[in-house]
């Protein structure tokens, strides 16, 4: 047997079912009239489901849950830098054209 941690087919199957359910939830949250709350809430919900699916894939399919702490640190470096990129870019675009909050409040529907 391999020296690497072996994830069982049962775990992989459970993750696949969870991913299928989350995909159905993504479609429901976006297309159901009862879920049409506000653009910001719907976008937030879609991103939350996508991040949850990503966590499932990374943890089990990509074995991150069973990896060393050093590998875990490596896996979060790029998302962290991506958050810095988004923060800097949007701190520019959201403060253009006058008041800081006016374009933001328009975007989220308040």
């Amino acid at each position: 047997m391999s020296s690497h941690h072996i994830v069982t087919p049962k775990t992989y199957g459970t993750v696949l079912i969870a991913l299928a359910c989350l995909m159905a939830l993504t479609c429901f949250a976006a297309k159901s009239p009862s879920m049409d709350i506000s653009p910001a809430v719907n976008l937030g919900l879609a991103l939350l489901i996508a991040v949850t699916k990503t966590a499932c894939v990374m943890s089990f399919f990509m074995h991150v849950k069973f990896s060393s702490k050093l590998v875990k640190v490596f896996t979060i470096t790029a998302p962290m830098f991506l958050m810095i990129l988004f923060f800097l870019v949007f701190s520019d675009f959201m403060t253009r054209g006058g008041s800081f909050w006016s374009p933001f409040s328009t975007a989220i529907g308040f």
Partner: protein, 236 residues
């Protein structure tokens, strides 16, 4: 990765490592660093997408409405299933089942088959109709026809230019994703040849493990692309 001979009684440690654990950990970190630069590559495009969606929410909704979210959902399910078959390929490699239907070879075929369906559906039902009906940003832009004719009437903020931006990002981002899948197909063929040559066993699994990481990464990119392009809600 080591080019050492194929072990039968345990993993072969490359000459510049002291232990197998060190060998495996180093290779794993190298693969994750590669994936980190891939995240930054797609992340730049997602950032571009986010800026223009923020600036032109009406055009984004109009463009997204013209995409068939059911075809996207169909494709998403095939990609998720291919991630599962790839993960099972890693399992079979780690348990020593290689050239069998329920083994690494069978799972590579299944992954390849599901991936080809994804790309074929995208070409036939998404990109081709857009090309035929003028939904191509640039000098060829001129939406018409049954599926995309309504796009020509859009005169919201940003006008047709903003719509073209949406479809430009749609083609670039889904195109780069499809390119990664095509590269994946090539790697799958290479891994199949290595399977047939007897290069893999329960102690030699890093190639399959790392290709699995690449394939799951491509899956994750699509997990974000799908709601961002196909499921945009109307701006209130």
């Amino acid at each position: 990765m080591s080019e050492a001979s194929h072990p039968t009684d345990g993993p072969v440690v490359a000459h510049h490592f002291e232990t197998w654990e060190q060998h495996e950990e180093s290779c794993t970190m190298g693969m994750w660093l590669f994936l980190a630069q891939e995240v930054m590559f797609f992340g730049g495009m997602f950032c571009c997408y986010a800026v223009y969606r923020y600036l032109y929410p009406e055009a984004w909704f109009e463009g997204s409405s013209a995409l068939d979210w059911k075809v996207g959902a169909f494709n998403t399910s095939f990609l998720l299933l291919s991630s599962f078959t790839m993960a099972m390929g890693v399992y079979y490699n780690q348990t020593g089942r290689i050239n069998k239907l329920f083994g690494v070879m069978g799972m590579l075929w299944a992954t390849l088959f599901l991936g080809i369906i994804f790309v074929a559906v995208k070409l036939q039902f998404e990109w081709l109709p857009k090309y035929q009906e003028g939904v191509v940003p640039g000098t060829l832009w001129g939406p018409h026809g049954h599926h995309y004719g309504q796009l020509a009437d859009f005169d919201g903020p940003g006008g047709q230019g903003a719509l073209q931006l949406f479809f430009w990002l749609y083609f670039v981002m889904t195109g780069m994703h499809a390119l990664h899948m095509l590269i994946g197909f090539g790697i799958i063929f290479w891994l199949m040849i290595k399977c047939l040559k007897g290069n893999f066993n329960e102690h030699s699994y890093l190639h399959i493990l790392f290709f699995g990481l690449y394939w799951h990464f491509v899956d994750i990119v699509w997990i974000f692309l799908y709601p961002m392009f196909y499921l945009v809600n109307p701006p209130h």
